[in-house]
Structures are given as C-alpha cells and as structure tokens.
Amino acid sequence: MRRILPPLMLAGLAALCFGEPALARDLPPEVRRMAERAFLEGRLRDLDTILAGAESPADRFPLLLRDVWWRRARVPPSFETRGPGSIAPRLAWLAGKEPRGPYPASGSGGDAYPILTALVRDRQWREVRGHRGLPQQGPLEALAESLRTEGEDRAAYFAGDWTRRLMSLTYRGPPPHPDEVRMRDRAERLRLRSGRWALIALCAFLVLALGLRWAVLRKARATGAGP
C-alpha cells in the first residue's frame, strides 16, 4: 500500500494540474447543431438558452459573434481577443474595425460551427457583391447539399432553396404557385378581351367621325353652301 501511495498522490496531483481543461467540457454536437439551426432560422434570442451551458470560448463564440457583428449590441461586449487555437483568428477578426476582411477559417482543432461559418460568409458575400454579382453557387450551396444528405431537409431548405428563391425574386420567375398561374391566365384573357373591345370602340369612333363628316359634306353639297 505504501508503495503505491506515492504514485497515486503523484497521479492525483497531475490530474489536478492537467485536468483543468477537462472541466470546461465541449458542448455535445447536438447542442451545437441546435444553436446553428437557431441562427439559421433567425431565432437569435434562443441562443442565450441553448448556449447557457457552454463553457469554452469556442462554444460561446456564437453569442459573441451575434452581439459584436451579426446583431451588434448598443454597447458591444468586451472580450479577450486571444483565445484557443480553434477560434483565435476569428476573435482577432471580430476585434477588427469595419469593414472587416473575409471571415477567417477556423484555427487548429476544427470548426465547431460550420453552418454558422457558412452563414457569416454568405452575409459578407451578399454585402460585398451586388445582386447580379452573386453567382448561382454561393457559400450556402455546399452546406445545403451536405445538410440534405444528412437528412436535415428543413435546414437544407432554409440554407439553400429558400435563400436562392428569394434572391431571384420576380413575379414571373419559376416556379409559379398554381394560384398565380390561374390568376395570370385570367388576367391574360381579360387583357385580350379588353383589347378587342378597345379596338372595336376605336373603329366605331372613327366610323362615327367619318360618317359625320360625310353627312356634313353631303348636306353642304345639297344646299350649295359647301365647297
């Protein structure tokens, strides 16, 4: 027992020293995905609840991003601009002044919120390029495809289809709603009908005018007062 006590004590000490990071546990992937979907669908106030248990700077980053850049706070929160390797470049980016450069890739350790990254890049992309400057394939396209393969149809719809549909808004753009088709057909029929009526009226008007003129001339000739 005496022999194993020192190693046990050493191990305990080591655990105390090096176990600190383990206390700030990462959020489960489902919670991160939940936060991303709230961002995706515009439920930004829900983030406070969803990320209430977030401990690491990387997990709390969406809140910081929301308050500093996406929806700025009247008094922007102060934050440590240096952080773990995974979000270090992004913290530096957030600390910069407007207009900021392109949203950086995550540092070592991978991207905890890839959907959020795509959303931010998409927004930056829209705010830099004009409407016609946006090509068909945007930052959200690849994301939408990957979400669809994962069975996340609703999120994929938001990320890709919905955005694309709204960005190409037009009354005559495909695919039209059945009611719209019905209404358009009816309008076309009405247009043709009223056009025909207008043409008939115009002809009748001209005939009336010419008839009057003819009658006047005839009468004038008959009375000898005309030309």
Binding site: G42, Y157, T170, Y171, R184, A187, G195, A201, V216, T223
Partner: protein, 777 residues
C-alpha cells in the same frame, strides 16, 4: 409647301410646344416646390392665363397685320426666352426656395414661388404661342368659310397638343430630361421663326402672298357667344378631369390612363372642330337659324355625360373585375380605359369640339375672323382654367366624380334646352315644334334626375367587398375596406415565428386604399387593438420599414423619425408598438392629401397616435417640406413610403438631389429607408432608386420582402461601412422577427457597376417609364 399647309404646320407645332412647355413647367417646379395641388394650380393657371391673353392679343395683332411677319418675329423672341428658361429655370426655382425660416412659414411661400417662377419662365413664350391660332385664322379665313378655317386651325393645333400629351410625359421628359426638353422646344420655335420669316419673305418676293388689308375697328362680339365659349371651355375641362376621376376606382390614374383620356378627348376635339367647321359653314349659310344645331349639340353632350355616369360603372366592372392582382392590372386598365373613354366620353367631346368653329361663325360680323376667334378662344381658355381650378380641388370632393359629371351634363343640357325652347322654332309647324321642345326638355332632364338621385343617395362610386367608406378627395378616391385576412408569414410551409399565427391564422384587418384598382393598399391596421400590438400589421411591409429603428442609432433617448408619405400612420404605429419602452419617439410626418388623415382618424384609430410626439404636415409635397427644413433639424431615421397615382414614386422624392438634402438632415449613424413596389430584386425601379441612393449616400442595400415578393426596402446611410446591423439588445418585437430575418439573411448591397440602375436626378428621372415597363406597359 403651300401657305395653307405651312399655316397648319405652324398651328400644329405651336399646339405641341404649348403642351410640352406645360408638362416641362410642372416638372421643373416639382423639385423646388413639390407637386401639391396648389403648386400644380399655380403653374397650370399661369400657363392658361398666358394662353388666353395670347389668344386675345393674337386676334388684335392679326387684324392689324398684313402678313405673318410679326408672328414669326415674336416666335424668335419666344425661342430665346425659352432657351433662357432651359438654362436658368432650375436655378431660378432653387433660388426661390425659402430658407432660414420656420417650416410652416416657408410652405406658404412655396406657392408664391411656383407662381412667380412659372410667370417669369413660361408665361411669355406661352403668350406668344397663344397668339398663333387667331393670327392664322385671320390669314386663312375667306368670306363664307370662316368656320372651316377656324375648325382646321383649331383641329391641327389640338392634334399637336395630342401628340405632345404622349410625347412630353412619356418620352421626352423620361429620356432627355426637363432642361433639354425645354431647350429642344426653344430650337423648334427658332426653326419655326426662321422658316416662317424666310417663307413669308420668299412668297412675298414671288408675289404669291395676299397682303390682307388691315382691319381696325371691328364690331364687338355678342356677350352670349362669349358666355358660350366660356361654358364650352369649362365643360371640356370638367369632363376631362371628371372622366379621369370617374374611371380611377377601376383603372387607377397611371400615366397611360391619363394619356388615354387626354388623347381621346383631344382627338375627339380635333375631329369635332374639323367636322364642326364645315358643318358650321353649311348650317349658318342658311341664316342664324343654323345656330340651333349648336344648341342641340350642347344638349346632346349634356345627356351623354349623364348616360355615361349611369352605364359606365357596370361596363367598367365587366372590363376589370375586383380580384385581379396588381401586377397584371395595368395592361387591362390601359385598354379598358381606352374603351370606356371612347365609348362614353369620345362622342360627347367630339360634339363639344364643334363649338369653337360654330361660335366663331355665329359671332362673326364682317371679315374679323381672327379677332373673333382670338376673343372666343381666350374665353374658352378662361373657362378651361376655371375648370382646372375647381374640378379636382372643389367639385369632386364636394359632389364626387359622378356628381361632377352629372352637374356638367345638367348645365350643358339645360343650356341646350333653354336655347332650344319652343319659341326658337318659330319657322316650324306646331307639331314638330312641340316634339322638339319635348326632346330639349329630356336632354336636361336625364342628367338632372341622375344628379338628384346621386346627391340624395351619395352612393359610393365603386363598392368592393368589405368596403365601409369611400371618400373622394382632391387627389384621389380613398376607400376603407374591412376584411378577415390571414396573417402573412414568409412561407406557408415554414413557420419562422409561430407566435404570429392566431388560432385560425386570421384577423379582421382594415385597409386604406387610395385609387387602387387591385388588391393593394396604402395603410393597414388590425381591427382589434390587442391583436394590433401583438401582431403589428400581420407581416406586411410596414414592419420591414419600422425595423430601421433597430439599427439607426439615436444619440438621444428619443428616436427622431421623418416619415415621407405618412398616409394613415401605419409605419408610425408600428414604430410606436415596437420601440423599447425606454426610447421615446418623435415623428415628423408629411402627407400630401389631408383627406387621408381625416379618413384614418375615423377608421384607423389615428387619434391615438396624435400628441406631442407627432408633428404632421398635410397638404404639402414632402419635397417642399424637406427643402424648407431648418439646417439644424436632424433625424435618426428617414422612411420614404410615397406613391402617386398608385404605381409611381413621385419623381422628386427619388433623386440624387433629394437624397443629398435628406443626408444633410441625417444624424450620425442615421439611415434612410425607401419602400419600392415592383418585381422584387429584379425591379428596374428598385435598381434605379438604389443606384441613386448609392450615388448620394455612398452605399445602398436592398432587402427583399418574403411575404410579398414584389416589394423591396432600400436602405442607405452615409456612415455605414457595412449593411444594416440590428442591435442585439434591442429585444426585437416578435412581430418584427420575420422582417429581421429577411434583413439579416437576404439583404444585398447594390453595386451600381454590376447591378446597373439609372441614376435619377431632378432634371432627368425616368422612374415613371421604368414603372410602366415593369407593370407591363
């Protein structure tokens, strides 16, 4: 080219120049003094008075002259004056804008300014142009064919005016701008002057011109003829304005509907005067008895106007049903209005067009055709001026469009009936005399009975489902409609904000529609105040505009907002209901039509918005108000939601100069938002306004409206380095979440290089043309 053809050409081109100058004058005044009905009346009034004076002077000058030299020399002066107006007109108008005095005091000066500017810039050339017709009639008239000469000159002049009615507002002002249009008119006048002088001189040398004897000391014209000329001028204008307002609930008041009405009316007048000239010569050759034909004409016109009001609504309802979507309505309205005007007003106006030659022929004593025509044309124009001044501002609000047409019909019918009383037919057998007397009485009876029914019943012009009130104001027909409407969410399949939906997803909604001919609206309120506070406008575009309060940064505890196009106060209400409790709201609202506010008070609970936080200016154009703002008046948020005649942004409220003026009144961090209706993100009008904002403010952003795909909101701020950013701690009202989502997820910066868009200026703004193209014309 023979002398007669030359004279007709000059008559036609002078008619064209008058109308082009009239349109250009209104356009030139708008950036300085707005387009309120008082300014419009001032400009048109000056032009018509100048025209009337010109007719009178032209008659006198023509009688004293032996050739057409004096007229063409005056044309030269007129050309130089017009050229000066094209160069310095805008500067003169800008110099007359009052500054440094309170807004209320400044606004009344705007009326005087427009009067003075139009008097200085446009009255002299129009006066000279007015001299043309009587001068040419004097040169053309031969004994026994004065009516024909008058009819021909009048008809060709009217055809020139007809061409100008299409050319000026739809082509010239939209493509080359105001200054160049006026400059072009000056060159046309210069060409006429030089050509006329040379042609006259050449003909004189060749001995081909008839040097007419000077005719001084003409006998005076009977007062009865002067009165008849006045009445016919009045009748034409009242029928013209009345017809537009009468048809507006079905076809709106788009440029093309106006062009149809004016075009058909002028065509009818031209044909009428041409035919009338020959008829007058033939009828009056048999003695004064032929004058009865003219009185019969007046009676028939009166009865026709009455019949139009009786039958018109039913026909228009067939031509344009209630539920046609706004995007598809313009082509139908174009053809429908053409048909209705041709059928219901064309024949009456054709007959009325016979009046000038008939009157000249009837009033003529000796060889004084020029002077007689001058005096009678002058009084016709004075009648027209009175018609302009009273129809829209007084008659339509008091009697309604239908009542106005009936009153005009009654007046004409009664005039015809009185003139055709049994005594006037002494030379006929008693039986025919009695029959004709009965017919005459009927002519007046038709509109009289209809007017009585209209005044007693005061029924709405057009009734839409759920309609609870209709008010005809000086500017438009305002309709209050109450319906159970489903609240709008971005897409049916996605409930972004489930809280927005009630149990059945609908709420009783009150809409304020102006001249809307389709399912569109200008203001809206949910009937239940609690629902209104919770759901705001049910997902409509007003929420997108109110969102500006959440990224425009107030320096003080109160958000200062300028609302251009206040209407029924929907944006104001949405702002009030969505601002955090610790932020106050101070609104300066501008609404051109005071009747809208009155209706909103009665039906949209507007009184609860009134108080110290609202300064409301009505009856004035927003441009005039912005021009008159004291330099230290600052706003955190400026929202422009102004539309005229349903489809058009008032051009003076969407130009570089306007946005530059607004910029001067924008507090640091402030934003300007503009509502544009069209084809959504692909709308040429939206692109043009965005390009204009980008020019004036440095950048512009376009936010689509997922609830209504044709609508976009444009945002611009001189201080913004990026797009609009909502504040995280603003605690967005749940009803604004959908709008916030669109702002954050869909807003696009407008890049003029890539997206294009015509930059609109005070001088050249094709916004009307773009809107017409966008809506299918």
């Amino acid at each position: 080219m023979g002398a007669r053809a030359g004279h007709l050409l000059v008559a036609g081109l002078s008619g064209l120049c008058v109308i082009v100058l009239e349109f250009a004058a209104v356009r030139m005044m708008a950036p300085a003094f707005g387009q309120s009905i008082t300014v419009w009346s001032a400009v048109v009034g000056v032009i018509l008075v100048a025209l009337a004076l010109g007719y009178w002077l032209g008659g006198r000058l023509g009688e004293r002259s032996r050739t057409s030299y004096p007229l063409f020399r005056l044309y030269g002066l007129c050309a130089l004056w017009t050229l000066g107006a094209s160069f310095w007109g805008a500067d003169l108008c800008a110099g007359l804008i009052p500054t440094g005095i309170p807004v209320d005091a400044s606004l009344s000066i705007g009326f005087g300014g427009s009067l003075l500017a139009s008097l200085v810039l446009f009255a002299p050339p129009v006066l000279v142009l007015g001299m043309t017709s009587p001068f040419l009639i004097r040169l053309e008239a031969r004994e026994g064919s004065e009516g024909r000469a008058t009819g021909a000159i009048y008809a060709v002049g009217t055809l020139g005016s007809l061409a100008a009615c299409y050319l000026a507002p739809l082509v010239l002002l939209q493509t080359i701008g105001t200054s160049r249009t006026i400059g072009g008119t000056a060159f046309l006048l210069l060409f006429l002057s030089c050509g006329g002088v040379l042609a006259t001189r050449r003909a004189h040398r060749a001995g081909g011109t008839e040097r007419l004897p000077s005719q001084e000391g003409a006998t005076p014209i009977g007062r009865a003829y002067i009165a008849l000329a006045f009445v016919t001028g009045l009748a034409v204008t009242v029928l013209e304005f009345g017809a537009v307002r009468f048809m507006a609930p079905w076809f709106g008041q788009s440029n093309y509907v106006w062009a149809n009405v004016i075009g058909v009316i002028l065509l009818a007048l031209a044909v009428g005067s041409w035919v009338g000239g020959r008829w007058a010569d033939a009828a009056l050759a048999r003695g004064p008895v032929g004058g009865r034909v003219f009185y019969a004409i007046l009676g028939v016109v009166g009865a026709a106007a009455g019949a139009a009001t009786l039958l018109g609504p039913g026909v228009m309802e067939i031509l344009i049903p209630q539920d046609v979507e706004s995007m598809y309505i313009l082509p139908i309205a174009f053809r429908g209005s053409l048909f209705t005007t041709l059928v219901f007003f064309g024949p009456a106006l054709l007959l009325l067009g016979m009046a000038p030659p008939f009157l000249v022929r009837m009033a003529l004593r000796g060889r004084h055709a020029g002077r007689t025509a001058g005096v009678l044309f002058a009084w016709t124009t004075v009648g027209g001026l009175l018609g302009c001044l009273v129809t829209a501002p007084l008659l339509v609000p008091a009697l309604g469009a239908r009542g106005t047409l009936l009153a005009a019909g009654l007046a004409l019918g009664a005039l015809g009936a009185v003139a055709l009383r049994p005594g006037a037919w002494r030379d006929l057998p008693p039986r025919r005399r009695r029959g004709l007397a009965c017919c005459s009485a009927l002519l007046a009876l038709v509109p009289a009975v209809l007017l009585g029914i209209h005044v007693a019943g005061r029924a709405a012009l057009r009734v839409q489902p759920g309609q609870v009130a209709e008010v005809e104001s000086a500017y438009q027909t305002i309709r209050v409609v109450r319906r159970d409407m489903h609240l709008l969410v971005p897409f049916d399949e996605i409930d972004v904000i489930p809280a927005l939906l009630g149990d059945d997803g609908s709420a009783t909604t009150v809409f304020l529609r102006h001249d809307e001919d389709a399912e569109t609206y200008q203001s809206v309120v949910l009937d239940d105040p609690e629902q209104s506070k919770a759901w705001l406008t049910g997902g409509r575009y007003f929420e997108h505009m109110a969102l500006g309060a959440h990224f425009a940064r107030p320096r003080r505890a109160t958000l200062r907002v300028l609302l251009v196009g206040y209407a029924g106060g929907t944006v104001h209400r949405t702002l009030r209901d969505t601002l955090p409790e610790d932020v106050g709201l101070s609104v300066l609202g501008v609404e051109i039509d005071p009747a809208v506010i009155e209706v909103a008070r009665d039906h949209l609970r507007h009184r609860e918005l009134e108080g110290p936080g609202l300064e409301l200016i009505t009856g004035e154009d927003a441009r005039t108000v912005v021009n008159a703002l004291p330099p230290d008046r600052q706003f955190d948020l400026v929202l422009v939601d102004a539309y005229t005649r349903t489809n058009y942004l008032p051009f003076q409220l969407a130009t570089v100069e306007f946005f530059t003026k607004l910029r001067a009144h924008l507090a640091t961090g402030g934003w300007i938002g503009v509502n544009v209706l069209g084809h959504g993100m692909k709308s040429p009008v939206a692109h043009a306004v965005a390009a204009t904002m980008a020019r004036a403010l440095g950048s512009a952003y376009v936010t689509p409206n997922p609830s209504f795909l044709g609508n976009v909101i444009l945002w611009g701020s001189p201080d913004a380095a990026t797009g609009p950013r909502l504040r995280a701690d603003a605690h967005l009202h749940p009803g604004l979440e959908a709008a916030g989502f669109a702002l954050e997820r869909l807003t696009v910066r407008h890049d003029p290089q890539r997206d294009g868009g015509v930059v609109l200026t005070d001088d050249l703004s094709p916004s009307d043309r773009l809107a017409d193209q966008e809506f299918g014309l």
